[in-house]
Symmetry: C2
Subunit: 280 residues, 2 copies
Amino acid sequence: MNEGKIRVGIVGLGLMGGSLGLALKESGICSAIIGDDLNQVHRRQALALGLVDECLDMNGILECDVIFLCTPVNAIVEIIKNIKSLKPNQMVIDFGGVKSEIIKAIPKKLRKNFLSLHPMCGTENFGPKAAFRDLYKNQIMIFVDINDSGKTQVELAREICIKLGMNIVKMDSKSHDTHTAFISHMPHILSYALANSVLEQENPQDIVAIAGGGFKSMSRISKSSGTMWSAIAKQNKNEILKAIKAFQKELEIATKLIQKDDFSSLKEWMDSANRLREII
Amino acid sequence: MNEGKIRVGIVGLGLMGGSLGLALKESGICSAIIGDDLNQVHRRQALALGLVDECLDMNGILECDVIFLCTPVNAIVEIIKNIKSLKPNQMVIDFGGVKSEIIKAIPKKLRKNFLSLHPMCGTENFGPKAAFRDLYKNQIMIFVDINDSGKTQVELAREICIKLGMNIVKMDSKSHDTHTAFISHMPHILSYALANSVLEQENPQDIVAIAGGGFKSMSRISKSSGTMWSAIAKQNKNEILKAIKAFQKELEIATKLIQKDDFSSLKEWMDSANRLREII
């Protein structure tokens, strides 16, 4: 990697794209960081916050050596469909949270120029103001279907991720979409449902006034962007429905045990969940 | 309050009781902190960790000025039922997470000596080793049905809580049990169900290997003690079932919207959960 020589483009200047800009700036590996965002307010905020060096439109972005797509997944698919040509060593990296549709949208003749990554980090906050430098540090980056990407591209992406302090995991897109439905997408739906169930009560303020750490943990991600998460739900519909079904089955077990006063079996069911301690 | 003059007894030397011992030691308001726990290993650990000054049995505990009951709620009820007499200024404080049954168990003639408090803090860890000094600091303490407790007792409890750095909220036991079902008990059931649904998959290790902050938040409290939480479920059965029902209704709304591809309504439903930002 030629330090300081890479011109980077970032499309989508929210939490993910903005934090990437900050981290790349600090890494010293870029000659320039160019941003783009459909939202003009976000462009101005990103510049004011120093997340990127300059904002240009897609034509300017497409001049960059490495282009990161950090928008909601529906926009990633649209942007990819509109990319008609790239220089041999150029690379487009998407940060989408669902992979099958995104990878399907990549033009076959440009397949080697594309790399599909998924950073397993984030917060419930969104927009340029949510960005912070260390978002990616010590977090997992999933490299998806990398055998279809060019070797030069994969190697450069790996170097960038290491510079960001990330841990790399490889996965095929099918496993990715199945696993993330369980580990990320379905839990977000649960958190939204929990928040809405409390907000629908007569006196949500009184209930929430006494919230301790448990509720704060469980409701935190219900504050996440509906734009981003509804797009993910659309692209990973079937896997998410399966994960919700598996969750409902467990909730039904607990409900039935409570209904029939079988609290020793309920305790066993809870103890069984404690096995999570062994793997996380 | 006569600083350094209060002899305190703590029954149950886990996360709550142990952390209380540490915090009270530091406060300088106690002449001695006596512990008791049915589990002999916990007694030894509590002494080794310096959570209490000494361990005695219930007869020794009942000699204390202020007695804290920090066991699971079923044990709290049993202990209270066995208290036949107290000196006029003695006080028994329970830390139970459900209040109706506990308060019902208090002998009428000793009602003024009892005070029902609920600290809205905790972690997923349990046992004496989980105890830490600042567990209570800046957290909420709910004072339940305080009009039935003696004024001297309430005043002393208030002073102790302020020494611990806690914020006091008052509530009647009925509201307490309804609100905590939503804010604490039902969310714990959800977290256990989430953990079990993942653990029931073919390859839970592979799924959990890529967990980001969302799953960590949502699954954290599934690591909590099944002994403690199954006892809470038993004592607050009806309120918890109502809260689960309200949650399931919301989850059903989301599931149906996903099934019929109505992702713009799903986005609205998610945006609606974002209102939680305004109150927490």
